[in-house]
């Protein structure tokens, strides 16, 4: 069937900010979908509050709204744009839920908008627990048996009917408190009684426990004609019990016999058919490893993280095909881009193994609860492709940037056998490494299987790696052994370390193609992964397709983590596009399956491999580029500079020396001095003793951090000797040899500048000012463009400093400089000669294509010839406010108080004609919902007390009753405010915690001199707020801004949506 006749304009809803569980995969999906729809001649309107996305580029959609993903804002956009259809299935759970609400309330029908991708009933059948159960039962697909009960006796009866073990889940308790697994009647009686007691509505769910079963996923597609196919199967190494997003996942499923595989495949196809989905769908199954019993765990009637993984794992573009199906095409009408000849109605055949490895934020959240369970905690993931499981696993681990080049984690070697077993049982993010360590110590596969329920097949593969580890250490390193180690994925660094010997001659670089068909057909997919000691397909491909243009190799940014997010993928993709426009053939290397950069259509060639020096050099060997680009892939790519330069590979843009000059504290200080620019006084120290001396000399508070930082990792403000001792211990345990920098902490205004420099001239698109004072990481601050209270002379000085710094660092391309203005004086905090987090934001709001200009500067073009002028650009027509978004509810034990260490996972942008409206939009988009008829609880540290009264007064004026702990209350009363005093947790039974639980508080303002450690009262209180979904502000500045916006009483319907595709750069 051709595209539905009446469709001319389609609205695509994105997924909003990056949060745990909803990351860059939806940018990849949305971007593909928009392109697919425009190929069909449709006009595409896009809404997404996340500016750091490719999908919100003017080139991707016809109309682009970076607006809050809320019902009022979507209704307004629909009224303005009058689309004929709404594509609901490409914006994650956020997009799906909003679309469903719009459909359910009748708004879509009233506006004549067709819901595309999934009908309302379909979504409801998949999302509503009871409806889902009914639907599955009606087609004979087993679900996990469960029953809601209110009596212990009923629980026991039900359990005996479904057999033990069972899981008890109390209703409406947070994080599952009061639940547990019961192995027998006796245990159930006690757990059920406790669960009923804990549940506020005296209700528990008793569910058959299938933890330990195999977790298998199928990605399936269906079109309106009823054709169904499976794109990919996946098997979790970690059995049921750990969220699939936190599991190590292999594709295809590896331990299923054809009988089991086909049973589940058929089930998946039955499910998608019965739900009537038109597009893609993810089906998750639990399979008993000891029988053919299985149960459907979950069905997602939309593209998902798993579908992004499946797309990259197979080469089959699920989102693209899903979008075409949604507008009426059938699978046999959609061309398979890989072969260019066949159609999308086929099932990929793999001749390799894919391993996905999650990236967790526990390196930052050292007090966070690391135990993995049903709540996903990973912020991102890497994917690796190999011809054996071992090779893929090795690639995945070294690509995850854990400072590991094998599965041997040094700190685990120090554990006793008993401690190691305990570690394995703890089921945390390091379990696989603990299992590996146990295998190295000679524990058997059987023992470890009993301990973890990980399938023996996977354990045997890990054992193979452990065996090679030992062989390398014990046997002479022959050429054959070396070859075998390389085939298994051991990098040279590991072979050298383990064998202690000279390496045999290097194996030539060799890559295989991902072609969706196991080489059955000749494909022209420019999608490769390295596979040593095998036939190389990349070089012949490069030669066959040689365009005669010079080749440039771009390095991407690896897995998404706090501090290095989707912004760097945005920049990498734009870099590729700019290079192509400039007449180059472009190859990209990256290992993040969620991204647009790893879409094989983005560059001329894609290398899906880890971003380590050895892996990078191998790609260089094949591509022989005229230069490589490291400036757009965040710290991951920057880290490659030294080894690449040492190997004689030309680096485009800012030279390695300039990068070093910015990073090396001594050199950077000398440079600043020579330029007459100040920075906060500071010292570099190595030991605790030195740190204490430095801190006391500088005077508290001081800022401390390891010299190589990413997103302010392990960065804190120390107020006392005790803080210094605590954190020196933390830092030195993680990286014993690192310098620790101790700086005087200046509590001033923070401003940020992104600039393009061609070596001589500088273009600054705008200056961003933070709402929060210095001391809160720039990534966690609300950033406002244009800066709203800089004097002309300070502005001039900032421009002057930025230019001087950029030129003397030899920047050719982008540089991001952070300043603090303290008592009217400008200090530099840091300068990074690379793309930054704010590049997409500032590019979109000013209309200046920064990455494009940076790439051209990098290639030698002069800024003055590019038509965007030099110096500080004229302000744009709009104000734009970036508001950070956090994922605290998913990370138990993490203190929500903001500080110099970055904690946010994503961001949203508010764009409006005035700063206030922009801020209001930003706060709305970030999910701030303040109920002003409820109370405000204030409890602040002594240093904040002097400033608290006006803020509390503003809330009070809005009608908020005030509550405060004793010290704070005294200050407020003194200022003439009415306030109710609340006891601290340790002071009384009725205290701040019980106040929160009572539901009378709608917002909290909590700061404390100390924090971090979960046992502290202040941290407990903030965690409680997170669990109860009560907004918790930890900066007076944020609170002040919020109060002022609430005071304006904006109505959301009145905030005009802005089509940023129409923003043009201000004329110079």
């Amino acid at each position: 069937m051709p595209v539905k006749q009446h469709l001319k304009k389609v609205l695509v809803v994105g997924s909003g900010p990056i949060v745990i569980g909803q990351a860059a995969e939806f940018d990849y999906a949305g971007t593909q979908a928009c392109r697919a729809l425009r190929e069909e001649g449709l006009n595409v309107v896009l809404v997404n509050s996340n500016p750091a996305t490719i999908m919100t580029d003017g080139a991707i959609a016809d109309e682009v709204y970076v607006e809050p993903l809320t019902l009022p804002s979507l209704r307004e956009i629909i009224r303005r744009e009058k689309p004929d259809g709404l594509l609901s299935t490409l914006g994650g759970q956020t997009g799906l839920t909003l679309s469903m609400q719009l459909a359910r309330e009748g708004f879509l029908e009233a506006q004549g908008v067709e819901l595309l991708g999934a009908r309302l009933e379909t979504i409801e059948k998949a999302e509503d627990r009871e409806l889902f159960k009914e639907t599955m039962e009606s087609i004979g697909e087993p679900v996990i048996p469960s029953l809601v009960v209110t009596e212990v006796g009923d629980a026991l009866d039900f359990a005996s009917s479904i057999s033990y073990p069972v899981i008890v889940r109390p209703a409406f308790t947070l994080g599952g408190t009061g639940g547990g697994i019961a192995e027998n009647e006796k245990e159930l009686a006690s757990i059920a009684a406790n669960g009923l007691r804990q549940s506020p509505i005296h209700q528990i769910l008793v569910e058959k426990c299938v933890s330990g079963w195999k977790e298998i996923e199928f990605e399936v597609m269906r079109d309106a004609a009823g054709n169904v196919i499976t794109v990919c199967s996946m098997e979790n190494l970690d059995p049921v019990g750990i969220h699939t997003g936190d599991s190590i996942v292999a594709a295809p499923a590896l331990t299923l016999a054809d009988k089991e595989y086909q049973m589940l495949r058929t089930a998946a196809l039955n499910i998608i058919s019965s739900l009537g989905i038109e597009g893609g769908c993810n089906c998750q199954f639990a399979l008993d490893p000891e029988s053919f019993r299985y149960a459907v765990i979950e069905v997602n009637p939309r593209v998902s993280r798993s579908s992004a993984l499946a797309s990259k794992a197979t080469g089959y573009p699920i989102a693209r095909v899903a979008a075409k199906i949604a507008v009426g095409l059938t699978l046999d009408e959609i061309q398979n881009e890989v072969t260019g000849k066949t159609m999308a109605c086929f099932e990929p055949a793999l001749d390799y193994v894919v391993v996905k490895f999650p990236k967790w934020p526990f390196d930052k959240f050292i007090y966070g609860c690391r135990r993995l369970g049903t709540q996903m905690k990973a912020t991102g993931e890497v994917m690796a492709i190999g011809r054996s499981f071992e090779a893929a696993m090795m690639k995945a681990v070294r690509g995850a940037e854990l400072s590991l080049d094998t599965l041997a984690m040094p700190k685990l070697a120090a554990l006793t056998d008993e401690e190691l077993r305990k570690k394995i049982r703890a089921q945390d993010d390091e379990r696989v490494f603990a299992v590996y360590e146990a295998l190295r110590r000679g524990q058997t596969i059987g023992e470890l299987h009993r301990l973890t329920r990980i399938d023996e097949w996977f354990l045997a593969k890990l054992w193979n790696l452990a065996k090679m580890d030992r062989t390398l250490a014990e046997d002479p390193l022959t050429e054959e052994l070396y070859r075998e180690a390389k085939r298994m994925g051991f990098p040279d660094s590991a072979v050298r370390r383990l064998s202690g010997g000279e390496l045999p001659p290097a194996l030539p670089a060799a890559c295989k193609m991902v072609d969706t068909c196991g080489a059955e057909f000749e494909a022209e997919t420019p999608y490769f992964y390295s596979s040593l000691a095998e036939e190389d397909e990349a070089l012949p491909f490069i030669r066959r397709r040689a365009s005669g243009k010079p080749v440039v190799l771009v390095f991407g940014s690896g897995p998404i983590r706090i501090g290095q997010g989707i912004e760097f993928d945005y920049a990498s993709v734009h870099c590729v596009m700019a290079l192509k426009r400039a007449g180059y053939e472009v190859a990209i290397a990256n290992n993040n399956p969620e991204t647009v950069s790893t879409d094989f259509n983005t560059a001329d060639r894609l290398y899906f491999d880890p971003l380590t020096a050895e892996d990078a050099l191998r790609i260089v060997e094949l591509e022989q580029p005229v230069g490589v680009v490291v400036a757009f892939g965040g710290q991951t790519a920057i880290k490659l500079t030294k080894p690449l330069a040492a190997a004689g590979v030309p680096i485009l843009g800012t030279q390695p020396d300039g990068i070093d000059l910015a990073e090396d504290r001594g050199r950077f200080d000398a440079l600043l001095e020579s330029l007459g620019i100040s920075r906060p006084a500071g010292r570099a120290v190595l030991t605790e003793e030195e740190a204490l001396r430095a801190a006391n000399e500088l005077g508290y508070p001081v800022l401390m951090r390891p010299s190589y930082v990413l997103g302010g990792q392990n960065m804190i403000i120390a107020f006392s000797d005790a803080d210094i001792r605590e954190y020196m211990n933390v830092i030195l345990t993680a990286n014993p040899d690192t310098d620790v920098l101790i700086d005087k902490y200046l509590m001033g205004t923070e401003v940020e500048v992104d600039a393009v420099c061609d070596g001589e001239d500088v273009l600054i698109p705008g200056i961003m000012e933070h709402i929060e004072r210095a001391g809160i990481h720039s990534g966690d601050s609300i950033a406002v463009y244009p800066a709203w209270n800089l004097s002309e002379s300070l502005t001039e000085q900032l421009v002057d400093y930025s230019k001087k710094l950029a030129v003397s660092l030899g920047v050719k391309g982008l540089v991001n400089i952070q300043y603090v203005i303290h008592e009217g004086k400008i200090y530099v905090i840091e300068a990074n000669p690379r793309s930054s987090r704010t590049i997409p934001y500032i590019s979109k709001v000013t209309g200046i294509p920064l990455v494009d200009l940076a790439v051209r500067a990098m290639l030698g073009e002069r800024l003055r010839d590019m038509g965007y002028g030099t110096g500080l650009a004229a302000p744009a027509a709009f104000h734009a406010v970036k508001v950070p978004v956090f994922s605290f509810e998913k990370l138990g034990g993490v203190d929500t108080q903001l500080g110099p260490e970055m904690k946010s996972t994503g961001e949203v942008l508010g764009i409006a004609p005035t700063m206030e409206e922009a801020l209001c939009k930003g706060l709305l988009a970030a999910g701030y919902r303040i109920e002003t008829d409820k109370g405000l609880l204030v409890t602040v540290r002594d240093s904040d007390k002097s400033e608290i009264a006006p803020i509390a007064a503003a809330f009070s004026a809005l009608g908020c009753p005030l509550y405060a702990t004793e010290g704070t209350a005294a200050v407020l009363r003194k200022a003439g405010l009415t306030v109710e005093t609340v006891k601290k947790i340790h002071e009384a039974k009725k205290n701040t915690m019980t106040l929160l639980e009572s539901g009378t508080v709608g917002c909290i303002l909590s700061t404390s001199a100390k924090g971090r450690i979960p046992a502290r009262d202040s941290v407990k209180l903030r965690r409680k707020a997170v669990e109860l979904g009560i907004p918790c502000l930890t900066s007076l500045d944020t609170a002040g801004a919020l109060a002022s916006i609430l005071g304006r009483h904006f109505r959301q319907e009145e905030l005009e949506p802005i089509d940023i595709a129409k923003i043009l750069p201000a004329k110079k």
Binding site: P252, A257, D258, M343, F346, W457, A519, E535
Partner: protein
Amino acid sequence: MEKTCYLVLENGAWFAGKSFGAQPASGGVAGEAVFTTAMTGYLETLTDPSYCGQLVVQTFPLIGNYGVIPADFESVRPRLAAYIVREWCRVPSNFRSEGDLDAFLKENGIPGLYGIDTRALTRTLRDHGTMNALLTEEAPPYGEELLERLRGFRQEPSVPLVTRQKAEAYGGSGPHVVLWDFGAKQNLIRELTKRGCRVTAVPSFTTAEELLALRPDGVLLSNGPGDPADNMDIVREAEKLFAAKIPMMGVCLGHQLMALANGAVTEKLPFGHRGANQPVKDLRTGRVAVTSQNHGYTVRPDSLPETASLRFVNCNDGTCEGIDYRNAPAFSVQFHPEACGGPHDTAYLFDCFLKLVNHAESEGFSCR
């Protein structure tokens, strides 16, 4: 330590790997080298009689993961000449597994080769077309004389090697279906008995008269190995079944023999279709199904007589995948609706067949 072993192709290319399973006979094992892209179902592949005499390459690199499960066998023993994988699994894991692949191949006298770049081999076979190959322990170089001999190698007609020698009865009390066994996969019988059929499996050399004397309600012409044109004696018997207007269903080789019986022509494909992901379009409904396939020959659609119509085509290369007949209540498919291994999406065709068997007269000839 395993012995080094070589795979020599008729074009002179060779691959060095390690030996597993049985040791190749002295002088090596020659046959046609073919590849299958199925990612699961190696046991079904190993025991599919249609691979008789072939050196079978698995494109999926990890084989043997779930061990050896006799319940999944498609015939009593493997008939292929040699088995070639990138890696065989030494520690298989499955609750039904009774052993590993190496032991299984040894027991059945099938030599195996592992540790070669199976993708490079597959690409060679794809680009060059199916070739004869030799599995040998003899190291290179390989002289022109040997390659010449290899090129001249011709697999002897295989159906007689794999068909049963005497009739056997299976199943229930429902319609009586005769399974004409040219190397039938066990699941053909299972699919029929599951539907209540009484099945009599008869050898390939059964004559039409003998067959009709069994008074079948329908005849299922099975899959089987080799060049369909090697079986003209069977084709002549099949013609008589058409004349008798008995309900018939053909699968794979059975499909080709039915076409030959109607005067159509078969030809060799460049490298065949072997795998579990072949999309096939039903021209009558427009629906596409994913099918399991294993064939090196195909029926030329332009050679079909008036009384036959093309019903299914392969979405990838447009080749004939199924035929409806009007001169008898009969249809046939090139793919494997009985799956094993592979998708079960077309198992409904057995229901269609039973409809023909039950209502041949009332509903006309074609399967809807």
